[in-house]
């Protein structure tokens, strides 16, 4: 019983962090699916989402607002708005002017964008980490007779539910809406989509915006979960989410979701049963293994050579 509770605790922790990774990973995978390139500034967009949410929460509390759901929703909307505009701007500045050039060029401009955003936040917000108020406290505790107590916090439940809502909304959007349909067409054959009269620039902007908005949601959630943010907040999370996207098969949205969860669970299991220091070793080791045996990732389809 004791062991089972301990195991469940690791599983809960892993799924919590994994679902947030999945939210960020979707941004990588969608952009890759459409233009075949990695958005290296995505981690920074997530970090800016967390900062914006923090600023909004502080501002709203200072204004005397006390109703928690309202504060959270307004903060979430602000974060999504700011991050989405950043996502849009990154595409306009770092990708569109160099589209169609050698693949290394947009890669470098995106890394430049990432360095710029990181340092901008350094200057504007200072380099020390800032505490994130714990707005959602408490939770359920389960305990057998032994000493170990399993806890499922309200914060974790919030993360699950929010992620679930976002994923469902995204899946419906992609499968049902006209813009989603156009997104799928553009990702399969951008030239043909353009010939059929789809404004491909608009669709590319839309994918950057959607990915950034989801990253902002993750920024707010993980900011609250960890309790602080700093300008390097996006770096490691971005790396992990990128790993999750590759693990699940880059370009595949269900793959990003699955990859995020697997990564999160494997990390927390490593921390729980081995040692916290090994968790990055295990997650990147897992990535290497999967790439060795299934180079397209878990749900990725092999690239068909176009004639």
């Amino acid at each position: 019983m004791q062991d089972l509770l301990y195991f469940s605790q690791q599983l809960i922790n892993g799924l919590t962090i994994g679902s947030a990774y999945a939210l960020i990973a979707i941004g990588y995978t969608m952009v890759y699916g459409i233009i075949g390139m990695i958005n290296f500034a995505h981690g920074e967009i997530y970090m800016i989402g967390a900062y914006t949410a923090l600023i909004a929460i502080t501002g709203l509390t200072a204004l005397g607002l006390a109703w928690l759901p309202l504060i959270l929703i307004v903060a979430l909307l602000c974060a999504m708005l700011v991050s989405s505009s950043m996502g849009w701007a990154v595409e306009r500045v770092a990708y569109r002017p160099v589209r169609g050039r050698h693949r290394l060029i947009p890669l470098i401009s995106a890394i430049g964008m990432s360095i710029f955003l990181q340092n901008y936040v350094h200057l504007a917000q200072g380099s020390r980490n800032i505490g994130f108020p714990a707005l959602i406290e408490g939770g359920f505790n389960f305990s057998a007779d032994g000493a170990f107590e399993m806890s499922l916090s309200y914060m974790q439940i919030t993360i699950f539910i929010t992620t679930l809502i976002c994923m469902t909304a995204l899946s419906l959007f992609i499968s049902r809406s006209r813009t989603g349909r156009a997104c799928r067409a553009v990702s399969q054959d951008i030239g043909m989509a353009s010939l059929l009269g789809i404004d491909t620039n608009r669709i590319i902007s839309a994918t950057f915006i959607i990915g950034a908005a989801l990253a902002a949601v993750a920024g707010l959630l993980l900011g609250m979960y960890y309790g602080s943010v700093d300008p390097l907040f996006g770096f490691i999370a971005g790396l992990k989410a990128f790993t999750a996207a590759v693990l699940g098969g880059i370009g595949s949205i269900p793959g990003a979701m699955l990859g995020g969860l697997i990564l999160g669970v494997s990390e927390s299991m490593t921390s729980g049963y081995l040692s916290g220091e090994y968790k990055d070793v295990v997650s990147f080791g897992l990535l290497i293994l999967i790439l060795l045996f299934k180079p397209t990732g878990l749900l990725g389809k092999p690239e068909v050579e176009k004639i």
């Binding site: 006209r178 349909r181 030239g191 789809i198």
Partner: protein, 251 residues
């Protein structure tokens, strides 16, 4: 409606198309034939905006269109197919037809979320048009299959249906009968004629299948090594000495 004057296309030292002229009237099927490597597809690529021709004029409905991007040309009502099928293979058959009507649809996301009457009405119209064309090319039963799972001949017909839902004025078909068996070619033949007769579409056709070309073309242009060789009705072309030489070699 389409007039091509003295078109030429140079790739470095190679003059792939040299002084080709042709014209297409309303409700007319015009074929471009020639031996392999004659430059037929290059002509198509110049007309449809894939290449920017290095010389000559392309006039569509009184407007010079040479060198403007492909998607703008297709919006003017000139749509094309490719030698190899280019469907969205991971989308269903009906989705392929809906996505082709994208720009006629209201894509306002907020209207979509709210499901406003206007949004629904247009989606319904798009669906109706898709269903009509699926029926027309005999694929209605397969509407919800993935396009990539269709047989080759069915994919060819779906491609034509996908062009037709955009309501084009001029359809450019690049070897539509390639890889089809004789029965399928016959069906295609009837379909192309009916596009002209029933839907007032003009067709420019590149084809190797001579029986198809001779059957349905109103006029034929022959090109050889990038240069115009002959043009006229199927009957004239059949008896043209230059054409026979080009195809069979000097005797």
């Amino acid at each position: 409606m389409l007039e091509v004057q003295n078109l030429s296309m140079r790739f470095g030292g190679l003059l792939a198309v040299d002084g080709v002229s042709l014209d297409v009237q309303e409700r007319e099927i015009v074929s471009i034939i020639g031996p392999n490597g004659a430059g037929k597809t290059t002509v198509f690529n110049c007309l449809s905006g894939f290449y920017k021709p290095t010389g000559g004029k392309v006039i569509f409905e009184g407007k010079e269109i040479q060198g403007i991007p492909d998607y703008k040309i297709s919006r003017l009502g000139m749509v094309r197919t490719f030698q190899h099928v280019r469907l969205f293979t991971q989308m269903t058959v009906v989705e392929n037809l809906l996505v082709a009507q994208h720009r006629h649809l209201n894509t306002n996301m907020i209207a979509g979320l709210l499901g406003t009457p206007n949004y629904k009405e247009r989606e319904q119209k798009a669906l109706d048009r898709a269903a009509y064309w699926l029926e027309r090319v005999g694929l209605l039963d397969l509407a919800n299959r993935d396009a990539g799972n269709l047989a080759y001949g069915q994919q060819r017909r779906l491609e034509i249906a996908r062009c037709m839902v955009t309501e084009p004025k001029l359809l450019m078909l690049d070897e539509p009968a390639a890889g089809l068996n004789p029965a399928e070619t016959k069906e295609l033949n009837q379909l192309i004629v009916s596009l002209k007769e029933d839907y007032n579409v003009s067709v420019v056709l590149i084809e190797h299948d001579m029986s198809l070309v001779m059957d349905i073309s109103d006029r034929i242009n022959v090109i050889n090594q990038g240069k115009p060789l002959a043009s006229g009705t199927p009957e004239e072309i059949r008896h043209n000495d230059d054409v026979i030489k080009a195809y069979l070699g000097e005797a």
